[in-house]
Amino acid sequence: MKRPIFSNWSITSVNRKAAISELLKLFPFQKTSEGLLLTALETREQAEPTIVHKGIAMPHCRSILVDDFMIAIGKSKKGIPWPVKKVKVIILFITPVKPSGPEEHMKLIKHLAKLLQSDGAEKLLSADSPIEAASILKFTLQESKQNE
């Protein structure tokens, strides 16, 4: 699954909502869309924190505000309370709402589940750079000023 992704390998936020917001800023959204997407992702987290492995969270949703896959990965050296257990790596994605249904959304979750269930999670936690992390997730890193 070669999808372009954005990254921030030095997240400075100290709480979940701020960390999600920091990653959302990587995308070219306007303020209103960014705010609504933050609400959607945070709502999902409030329903159930999306910790998919020790130290890894996967905030995600489908939204009518995007027309293509939006994926970002982030790393915090200190860790972020999510809200209790600490998370160091974040895989954030938003998929579009299409008339064809949630097929593509499901494929992406399946792809990530497969990778994380093997040794992908441990590799991801020890990845030194976003390029390495993108490679582990079989994504392509998008050119961005904020990619480090």
Binding site: F29, T39, A40, T43, A47, H53, L65, M106
Partner: protein, 117 residues
């Protein structure tokens, strides 16, 4: 953006989230990831009720009618067309300086429409 319009968009995204978590295949994958989709759905439904109450009754009722009829009650305007029924919107709509400042519906299908940023 109009407050009700923001809430209608959030309500739509929340309905999609609930529907996704009730999808058999997605549920299976989320469980593989160690998540609990059933518990999340219960919580999301509570949040949906709370959000729906913040929307004016008229718009909320219209949303429910549209959602049950079309599946999607809120759609973006793309290339000056309603992306629900693909009808070209009247010039007055497109040229209006009040885009997203009030709740608008497509004159053809009645879905709530909004302009992307």
């Amino acid at each position: 953006m109009n407050n009700d319009l923001e809430r209608l968009i959030s309500l739509h995204d929340l309905d999609v989230m609930i529907s996704d978590l009730q999808n058999k295949d997605i549920r299976k994958q989320e469980k593989k990831l160690g998540l609990s989709p059933a518990a999340a759905v219960t919580e999301l439904k509570k949040m949906r009720c709370e959000l729906a109450l913040l929307i004016t009754r008229r718009n909320r009722d219209m949303y429910d009618q549209l959602a049950s009829h079309y599946g999607n009650a809120v759609v973006p305007v793309i290339n000056e067309r309603c992306s629900g029924c693909f009808t070209q919107l009247p010039t007055a709509f497109v040229a209006s300086p009040d885009r997203n400042k009030q709740v608008e519906t497509c004159p053809a299908c009645g879905r709530f429409i909004y302009w992307c940023d």
